[in-house]
């Protein structure tokens, strides 16, 4: 089974995010870069499927030179090969532009199953996976927390409000992965050593036959007008008191008089 995993390098969620001078992007230096945590789930699931059913795992990422680190991490976890789409013209793509590029790359490679995180934790668009499936004309199952492979079909368990929905689709299909699916493995030290020797192919937009005008900053359909940091959270206030009754009384007083909630 040929499994392709789409991965993205994102700023570590613990990094202090600062807005750049242009007001519409974040400062990229001083930030630690990691593999999108939802994509880690996708890589792990792909490796497990390969371990159970055989086949190969290819990881694909579209991003600047640094994105190669994330591909190497996936290779170190155990993926077999990597494709890095690196082209200055691809920079600044919106979700649909990125999907167009990834779909073009996927058309040139064999796949039975495509996995990717349900969203990137940087821009939170939740669009790339489904849009890639749409461009490839294949079904997609989103937010899966359990994957079962049947004969020529895939069954995905999805969490919905108050329950689980089980859906099935014929292969090839695209799945987006949700927290709870698995516990991603660590990249082992021998794995990192081996990853250095695994094939990593770099491709440009021209290699993929993608018109630069349709993607990247030039092809954006969504334009960012401004970025703002969320308002600073107020400090937590601990309500104290000698007895539980006193604490409760104080809580009621604060909610009533200060917060004016009751």
């Amino acid at each position: 089974m040929n499994i392709v995993v789409l991965v993205k390098q994102v700023p570590d969620t613990e990094s202090l995010v600062q807005i750049a001078a242009d007001g519409v992007s974040i400062r990229k230096d001083d930030v630690k870069w990691i593999m999108n945590p939802y994509d880690e789930l996708a890589v792990e699931e792909a490796l497990r499927i390969r371990e159970a059913k055989g086949g190969g795992v290819t990881v694909v990422s579209c991003g600047g030179p640094k994105a190669q680190e994330t591909l190497r991490t996936a290779l170190a976890m155990g993926a077999d090969k990597a494709v890095h789409i690196q082209d200055p013209a691809a920079e600044g793509a919106d979700a649909l532009g990125t999907a167009r590029i990834l779909a073009a790359a996927l058309k040139a490679m064999p796949f039975d199953l495509i996995l990717c995180g349900q969203r990137g934790v940087d821009e939170d668009n939740v669009q790339v996976g489904p849009a890639v499936a749409e461009r490839l004309g294949i079904p997609h199952l989103s937010f899966v927390i359990k994957v079962e492979l049947l004969d020529g079909r895939v069954r995905g368990h999805r969490v919905v409000e108050g329950g689980t929905v089980v859906v099935e689709a014929p292969l090839p299909a695209l799945l987006t992965t949700q927290r709870g699916l698995n516990d991603p493995r660590y990249a082992s030290l021998p794995g990192i050593m081996k990853a250095k020797k695994k094939p990593l192919e770099v491709k440009s937009l021209a290699d993929l036959g993608v018109d630069p005008a349709t993607v990247g900053a030039a092809g954006r359909k969504v334009v960012v007008r401004a970025l703002k940091l969320p308002p600073a959270r107020q400090a937590v206030r601990m309500i104290g008191g000698e007895t539980p009754e006193a604490v409760a009384a104080e809580l009621v007083r604060v909610l009533h008089e200060e917060a004016k909630l009751i």
Partner: protein, 549 residues
Amino acid sequence: MERERLEFDVVFVGAGPAGLAGAIRLKQLAAERGREIEVCVIDKAPALGAHSLSGAVVDPRALAELLPDYRERGCPIEEEGLRDAVFYLTAAKALRLPWVPPFLHNEGAFVGSLSKLCAWLGAIAEEAGVNVFPGFAGVEALFDDAGGRVLGVRTGDKGVDKQGRRKGNFEPGVDLLAKVTVFAEGPRGSLLREAAKRLGLFDGRMPQVFETAVKEVIELPEASPFLTAPEAVIHTFGFPLGLHTKGGGFLYRMAERRVALGLVVGLDYADPMLEPYREFLRFKRHPLVAGLIAGGRVLQQGAKTLPVGGWYSMPRLCADGALVIGDSACTLNARRLKGVHTAMKSGMLAAETIAEALAAGDTGASALEGYRRRLEESWLGEELRQARNFSQALSRPPASRVVHLGAQMLSRGRGLVDPMPLHEDCSTLRPGVFREPAPVADLDGTLYLDKLTGVYLSGTRHEEDQPCHLHIPHPELCTTRCWQEYRSPCTRFCPGQVYEIETAEGGRPRLKLNPSNCLHCKTCEIKDPLRNILWNCPEGGGGPNWTIL
């Protein structure tokens, strides 16, 4: 359990300036001699530079020897052409010294961030063919059956839960075998602590003594007077520590409207109620400092210990198959307030010795002894000899301190007593004296932070479900003797609020540990008066995520 083994010629434990400079130098020597030398560097930090913190005013001497084209290669320099100012602070005033002692002159030096510098050096090492592995902690030195020869190092298991059980993503550590293992763990290495016992590396040496630095990088408003001040480097002494506790403050101007600010507190302090973090806040509230940083915003915070014992507390540097370099070897020059260039130089000298030993096919202690000789004969040895009694003099009462320092200046470090003794930091707290701590003005969460906000801004993160990395052999002492005699000083000397004494059921006090707050500074292990704390490496990849400290 059968562990995977990987063989290298040389393994460095720690990707700080010492380990990385050593690794790069080895690769240079290998290339010069047309030899293959397989070099590996591991570090517990999640990324290169993420656990490296220093002032830092860097003397480029070692850097220029290692990489003469360091500027062209994009060395991250924040500010150069430095002019210095030294202030004596009283509670309300700042008196500028008319004269800066020659060892504090920084004309040829530059202000740098050690996190950035190590990330940069690490990339150069990788380019040179070094295997650099951040995210892997060394947890145990490996010995031969006789126990006298170091064979390598074992990395820590990952994916182990609080109770020590394997989780679904368990990943066993591996054995890195090497002809030479180099301890470059920085101050108070946990691996060296155990290996040194076995090898007797600290026997007959003076104790290692330390200072704890709390540091921040602050972004200043455009109108800040410090951005255009003629002096980019400011050092202070006096307030808030007074003259009886050694230490002092620093402000170094960086690029991009930033300032590095910190307070260093000598851990030989006597007052059990002293809290380095609180002193750091008081330092920031001093009118001189508050004026220079007004309107600023803290970007990152961190803390680290500095080994200041110097020459006489250096361990034995060589053993069969092993060397000790950098802060682990106490190469920091406390007199010049600099440790980056000395750490790098020690790594480079170790590399030269190792290359020779590998070529000769003998990596025993006597073959590696050349490292100590090289160190003694180099400018590094000269620097450290001149500073050999400096830290000791600073621990003296103010009047005799001046006399000792003066005599040392006139006699190239010998002074009136040579060697002057050092006393372990864990032995200096005065029991039973509990003064009220000085008040600290309100914190605003932007420029003046409480400890937990500081921990947040250090980016510190650990896997929560893992065994506690702090070992307290006698927990019962925490709420009995340690409370009675010292009022649980761990709750104060730790800058990360790892230690708390809480009231358990029945009103009994109980020690509560928050190991995931740990900034990896190791002050606790060093200062604990009952020696009841052992710091071990948490799961590799945990800890601070410094990028600009």
